[in-house]
């Protein structure tokens, strides 16, 4: 039995001590969609994704991923999705194969199945030749491909991608999106992604929602959003919906460490 609404969010709210990050949002994602979740910095995107992926408890509201509640059915939900974070979560000192194997063990995949699937995925990702190389020797694009592939090892229903192609060149971006769309079509994996590249959302998403200041300001297809704002480019429609002002955020601990990481990295 295939659930139709693979992601259901109703009246979802998250309040922190002094402010409301997510304010009563409601949206659904159908099985098989490629869904873009757009919004300026600090809009509440990351907080929402964290609640969907069991990393944060909502203050109030209703979430169902593949029919399960992330709060009360945590492990069921975790088995239903795979996630590729914005910042790398691979282990640099291990090889590609070891990274995949670790993931397989964490998700309880038995050894024989693990071995077959890892080989399948690595060949599909065109990383099989380099499977015994340490990930620190990989280029940015290869690392990203590996992370996406790894997220799919346990055959999840939903794939969450947080800025999947940030910092990659056009060829790699194109390659990755072709791969994602193939998976979406062949395996029926629902894709939920965030991005700041509007043409990427325009070109690849079948449905999208724009969040700003914790509220959803628009939902629909790219065409519908463009029609609503009377713009031809999605980027213009987006700016129209969210305003021209720059959202300055205070640098948090993560930003400091990210900067330090860049300093120390050789590439």
């Amino acid at each position: 039995m295939e659930i139709e609404q693979i992601i259901e969010v109703k009246n979802l709210t998250k309040k922190f001590k002094d402010f409301t990050a997510v304010n009563n949002i409601t949206f659904n994602v159908k099985h098989g969609e490629v869904f873009a979740f757009l919004g300026p910095n600090g809009a509440g995107k990351t907080t929402t994704i964290k609640m969907l992926t069991t990393l944060l408890h909502p203050t109030s509201g209703y979430i169902r991923i593949n029919g399960k509640d992330p709060v009360s059915q945590q492990n069921d939900v975790r088995n239903s999705f795979g996630i590729c974070f914005q910042d790398q979560s691979l282990d640099d000192e291990l090889t590609a194969r070891e990274n995949m194997d670790l993931h397989g063990v964490l998700y309880g995949i038995p050894r024989a199945t693990r071995r077959t699937r890892i080989e399948q995925l690595l060949k599909l990702l065109e990383l099989w030749e380099r499977r015994n190389d340490q990930v620190k020797k990989y280029s940015g694009g290869m690392k990203r491909r590996l992370e996406i592939g790894r997220a799919l090892l346990h055959h999840p229903k939903v794939l969450f991608l947080d800025e999947p192609t940030q910092g990659l060149d056009p060829q790699t971006r194109n390659h990755i999106w072709t791969y994602i769309k193939d998976l979406n079509k062949e395996e029926g994996v629902t894709v939920f992604f965030t991005t700041h590249y509007m043409e990427e959302a325009d070109r690849n998403a079948t449905l999208m929602a724009v969040i700003d200041n914790g509220k959803i300001v628009a939902q629909g297809t790219a065409e519908e959003l463009k029609a609503k704002t009377g713009k031809t480019l999605l980027e213009d429609a987006f700016i129209d919906l969210t305003g021209h002002g720059i959202r300055d955020e205070e640098a948090g601990a993560a930003d400091h460490m990210r900067m330090r990481g860049r300093l120390w990295r050789r590439r």
């Binding site: 979560s89 282990d91 070891e98 993931h103 063990v105 964490l106 998700y107 400091h256």
Partner: protein, 248 residues
């Protein structure tokens, strides 16, 4: 299986950075040679005996101490940019993740301690009762577990590497210097011995020193073992609890 593979991961990470292994042996070797040979004559003249015999266990413990704390602290970085995130979304209990990591980190710290031990043998350490080396290993393991768990506990609440500097200077260094690692507690001013009594490392060092160097124990071997074991259990519980509360 999860615990095993996380443990194995820590070992692999350690063995794969040969440069880091060699580099981290630099300080212990320096201490052993500079202090050991430097203070040797003075120590002997004061009636303390062979300083290398006295110092080496302290330096072995130093290696274990710092390696343990570092591996726990690694979590601060890992939380944001590393593998830890992947484990936090997986259908695995936080407890298993913490135990796998802590056991792995402690094993690595112990391996480091063994390396320093071997080097000490070349510098002049003489082990009178080799069958006690196994007991020394146990003490080493307890120290390693204790401080890896402590590092994990601290790293679970810190979000920035800045706090890490504070921890090293105001917690780890005092723990090391006021533990009888470098000077005998027997006969030291009561201020220092009183502080040392509350320092778990003092008991660990006492244990290693008695089993490896054949010196007379300051607190008694069984006291050392009991105190260490109890504190290890407390810190493991603390580390586990704080780790389970991590929010990324």
């Amino acid at each position: 299986m999860v615990i095993y593979i996380l443990w194995l991961r820590q070992i692999k990470r350690y063995l794969r950075s040969k440069a880091r292994i060699v580099g981290s042996l630099g300080q212990p070797i320096l201490f052993l040679v500079a202090l050991g040979y430097g203070f040797g004559p003075v120590f002997a003249k004061a009636g303390g005996g062979n300083y290398i015999q006295f110092l080496a266990p302290g330096i072995i413990a130093m290696g274990i101490l710092f390696t343990s704390v570092f591996s726990g602290i690694e979590i601060i970085w890992d939380k944001q940019f590393g593998f830890l995130k992947e484990t936090l979304v997986a259908p695995v209990s936080r407890f298993e993740i913490m135990i796998g990591r802590t056991l792995g980190g402690a094993t690595v710290a112990l391996m480091q301690g063994v390396l320093i031990f071997i080097i000490s043998l070349f510098i002049g350490l003489h082990v009178p009762a080799f069958h006690l080396v196994l007991l020394a290993l146990l003490f080493g393991l307890l120290i390693a577990l204790l401080f890896t768990a402590l590092g994990t506990a601290i790293a679970s609440i810190l979000d920035d590497m800045q706090g890490f500097q504070l921890i090293i200077n105001f917690l780890v260094m005092p723990l090391f210097f006021l533990s009888g690692a470098l000077f005998p507690l027997n006969g030291a001013p009561s201020v220092l011995t009183d502080i040392a009594k509350f320092n778990p490392l003092s008991y660990g060092i006492d244990g290693i020193r008695t089993t490896l160097s054949g010196q007379v124990s300051n607190f008694g071997l069984s006291t050392d073992l009991i105190v260490l074991t109890v504190i290890v259990i407390i810190f493991l519980a603390l580390g586990s609890y704080l780790f389970s509360k991590i929010q990324i």
